[in-house]
Amino acid sequence: MSARLEARGVKRTLIDADDEVPLVRGVSFSVNAGEFVAILGPSGCGKSSLLYLLGLLDRPTEGEVLLDGAHTSGLSADERTRLRLEKIGFVFQFHFLLPEFTAMENVALPMRRLARLSRVEAEARATLLLDALGLKGEGRKRPSQMSGGQRQRVAIARSLANDPVLILCDEPTGNLDSVNSEMVVRVFQRLAHEEGRAIVCVTHDDNVAAAADRRIRMRDGEIVADER
């Protein structure tokens, strides 16, 4: 299987006044299509920083991130934005939906930004994605009218909007009860195993770790274990 995502000696150092704070100290690994990877480790070990680097939201100080076999270090900000739009879906701990828009409109936003579909087509596809996540008939609600579990599923539906090859999650079950966590985990397994997407999930949640195909453990900005 081909590597969807590859990190090659990725380092990220925060330069704060005279102080250099290393966040990620040289990380290398690759994730294949259809693989569900959990990144584990104590708070402040650099998991989230690594996730932002993998998601092209941040640039590594050293090393490189390859997406679908393509180098990303030489790309302009606009080209990286374009890649994020087309190939990467994000799910965060807090749902991070836009409060002024309905669930359906939130899911449709990345499609309308990509502009391959018309607004009507985008909203129709958004409704299908919500249906598939058990949110049939909830599309017209605003985030403030929904429960935490529902919101997180809307966020997952939104991450799927442009049919990404890679989904990056930061503590996706951090704010959910066990029933909702269980449901989210099963969604990720389906997205990886049935739809062939690569999923990288930063988490503290043992249930998520147990459900993943692979567990990468980090400490002080470095990978200390990579278990299958």
């Binding site: 989230s48 920083s49 932002y52 998601g55 939201l57 941040d58 900000a77 606009d78 934005t81 374009r82 994020r84 739009l85 087309e86 990467i88 994000f90 965060f92 701990q93 807090f94 991070f96 939906l97 836009l98 409060p99 002024e100 828009f101 936003l109 990345p110 309308r112 930004r113 990509l114 502009a115 607004r119 939104r158 442009n162 930061d170 503590e171």
Partner: protein, 416 residues
């Protein structure tokens, strides 16, 4: 690649709807600015146009006098030119006063489409009645064509310009002079000219000097009568011209002056000091109005700036989703332009209502009822709309640039 404008508009309107109250306050700021701009400029331009119209119509658009702009060349200069010897103390040749070739000049002026021209002879006279004397400037005119140049009849009381021809030596003086002399219509006065000719004349009408500025010391008679009084038969020292569009007076005057010599004085040249005062008045008006619109754009700045600060989280999530930095800048820029456009539109309504109110207020001045003259030109709306939209766009652009600088990683890290 940028997001399509419909999507950005959708997001911008969603933001504005959430902060409806602040948005409306900012919009009202713009609309008050635009409304008062329209009302004040309509008044200023209206009164200026009215004033200029009175200024133009109270006298011919162009007056040609038997004066040149430079002293005439003396025969000695013509003969020897500017040689090595300068000549002083030459006895100047006496020019015959009056316009030479005036019938040809009259023809030339009348040949221009829409232009009317009339000959006149003017000079100083003394008018005596019942032992009282008044010094006046008498203009001899042809009543049949003089009214085409300046509508004198409009301001005449007790008679018409044409009445000059109905009596022997008819005369028109101002009401004020009539009162001072104690003379009434039909009374016979004695005129003596500067060259010593004395004649009897009968008053046929009065000029209402309250209605016509500068008419107090004026007197009118037939051209023929004036030529006898000044002992200059068949001579004319003035041509009075009316052009179809007063703005053309300057160019027509310059063109004819180049052809004929003499001093062709347009109303613009005659009223230069007043025109300068009007320019200064306009500068003051536009300065005050710009200040109002500038203050209005502070409101736009505030609401957009607040939106950018409050939406930092949303900006971060949009950036993660795949919106570019210039997309988010545009969202906030559009918000400002929308506030400006709504403000300008409601300002148009406010301004139109204010004008309607101003136009309906009657002013009583010495018994006469006046209404404020208003200029409701479309270009005032265009200026107000354009300036307010532009300043709103600038006011929004300043904080909108900040939206592009929001680093999504900082926000995500802080929230996680």
């Amino acid at each position: 690649m940028s997001a399509n404008i419909a999507l950005l508009l959708h997001i911008a309107f969603a933001h504005l709807r959430v902060r409806a109250r602040q948005t409306i306050v900012a919009m009202l700021g713009v609309s008050v600015g635009v409304g008062f701009f329209l009302a004040v400029s309509a008044m200023m331009i209206g009164s200026q146009t009215d004033f200029i119209r009175t200024l133009i119509d109270s006298a011919p658009h162009i007056i040609v006098r038997d004066e040149a702009r430079a002293p005439p060349q003396q025969p000695a200069n013509e003969r020897f030119g500017d040689g090595a010897v300068q000549m002083h103390g030459l006895r100047a040749r006496d020019e015959v006063r009056g316009l030479k070739d005036w019938p040809a000049m009259l023809e030339a002026a009348r040949a221009i489409p829409g232009v009317s021209a009339a000959p006149a002879l003017s000079g100083g006279v003394a008018v005596r009645f019942a032992g009282r004397t008044e010094a006046l400037g008498l203009t001899g005119v042809d009543p049949r064509i003089a009214n085409q140049i300046v509508d004198l009849d409009e301001d005449l009381v007790g008679g018409q310009l044409a009445d000059l021809e109905n009596v022997q030596n008819g005369l028109i003086v101002s009401t004020q002079v009539g009162r001072r002399l104690g003379a009434n219509i039909g009374d016979t006065v004695v005129i003596s000219s500067s060259v010593g000719v004395v004649q009897r004349a009968r008053i046929v009408a009065f000029i209402d000097s309250d209605a016509r500025a500068g008419a107090e010391g004026a007197a009118y008679a037939l051209l023929r009568t004036a030529q006898v009084l000044f002992a200059r038969p068949n001579i004319v020292n003035q041509i009075q011209i009316r052009v179809p569009n007063p703005d053309l007076a300057l160019t027509v005057a310059a063109q004819l002056e180049a052809q004929w010599g003499y001093k062709w004085e347009s109303w613009q040249e005659r009223s230069r000091d007043i025109m300068n005062a009007l320019v200064i008045r306009n500068i003051i008006m536009y300065a005050v109005i710009s200040a109002i619109l500038l203050v209005a754009s502070f409101g736009v700045y505030t609401v957009i700036s607040t939106n950018v600060t409050e939406k930092r989280r949303d900006i971060a999530i949009m950036r993660a989703m795949g919106f570019a930095d210039h997309d988010v800048t545009r969202v906030f820029l559009i918000e400002g332009v929308v506030v400006g456009a709504l403000g300008a539109a409601s300002g148009f309504v406010l301004g139109t209502i204010l004008m309607q109110i101003l136009a309906s207020i009657p002013f009583r001045i010495m018994g006469d009822v006046f209404y404020i003259p208003l200029d409701r030109g479309i270009h005032q709306y265009a200026i107000a709309g354009g300036v307010s939209m532009f300043s709103a766009a600038i006011a929004a652009w300043l904080p909108a640039r900040r939206a592009a600088k929001v680093d999504p990683v900082d926000i995500l890290r802080g929230a996680a």
